[in-house]
Amino acid sequence: MEKSLAEIIVVTSGKGGVGKTTTSASIACGLAKAGKKTAVIDFDVGLRNLDLIMGCERRVVYDFVNVVLGEANIKQALIKDKRFENLFVLAASQTRDKDALTKEGVEKVLKDIADEGFDYIVCDSPAGIEKGAFLAMYFADRAVVVVNPEVSSVRDSDRILGLLASKTRKAENGERVQENLLLTRYSPERVEKGDMLSIADVEDILGLKVIGVIPESPEVLQSSNAGVPVILDDVSHAGQAYTDAVGRILGQDIPLRYTTVERKGFFSKLFGG
């Protein structure tokens, strides 16, 4: 079989609400900004949301399932981003049944996109470990596992890592999906106080190094309110941390930022302020 040149990245987590869609949107924007032709696909059939985070919700005409069923071709269904001409969104179907996606259907859509000369295809996985999540990860070359420094999220991430190592095309061919851990909603202050797992704790428990650490920050909500992925807010710490993470995905060696408490003066230290 002909090998497509597009790198397929799945953004997954197991647990819901940890920041998968925020991360998918930001990684896709970051890759596009770095000059890579990028498509980002919403695999959450029935619970479409990526369009909203990307700010293109009013321009969805055809969706993922339309392409799978041959009701539209990939060129018709890819929504061109208004900020980057090399960035495209494929929305999930809001009305269809989850069973509308099949392995063959997904493979066809990914191939159609790759044939359009894309460099990266980012797959935004639904929560859970059912069919949608399985299909989102199946064809991946790389997985960005989004994890919060919190017990249930860490446990679910380990479950997902197990599935990546066994239920993917790469695994079936005796290869490995490249696994990257992305720690989100991180609060150095709470880590220092001893009420949040540290980066080292999470890395140690999951046996994997982080590719990025996104600090808990109000700009993440503001960005989703506005439909502008937070990576485009280059003043915010979260946006800068996403830019760094994308740089690392592209192979750059960038040190972590915003992962330690900003030091206070002598008096506030003395009085524990």
């Binding site: 860490v154 446990r155 479950r159 197990g162 009420d195 140690d204």
Partner: protein, 88 residues
């Protein structure tokens, strides 16, 4: 850390509790990964049988599938209480 911080040390270090719990749980879940579905059921039924004769703890029976080269070994261990108090 400030000199008055001891006043607010009630909830000290829940993060280390989280870390320790996760280490144990994840190690256990990884060892069960890829194991046959019947293992938990087998473990439960063994426990029931053993409890007919010995008053053991719920965690006393461990069933693990161990890979030994090409062979798979079903490793069953039962921890008896210190004073083997037979209930029968």
């Amino acid at each position: 850390m400030g000199i008055f911080d001891f006043l607010s040390q009630r909830n000290k270090n829940t993060a280390s509790t989280a870390r320790d719990r996760l280490r144990i749980l994840i190690q256990q879940e990884r060892s069960m990964r890829g194991a046959p579905d019947y293992l938990p059921m087998l473990q439960r039924e063994l426990l029931e049988v053993i409890r007919k004769y010995v008053n053991v703890d719920v965690e006393a029976v461990k069933v693990d599938l161990i890979k030994d080269g090409d062979n798979e070994v079903l490793d069953i261990s039962v921890a008896l209480p210190e004073k083997a108090a037979a209930s029968g």
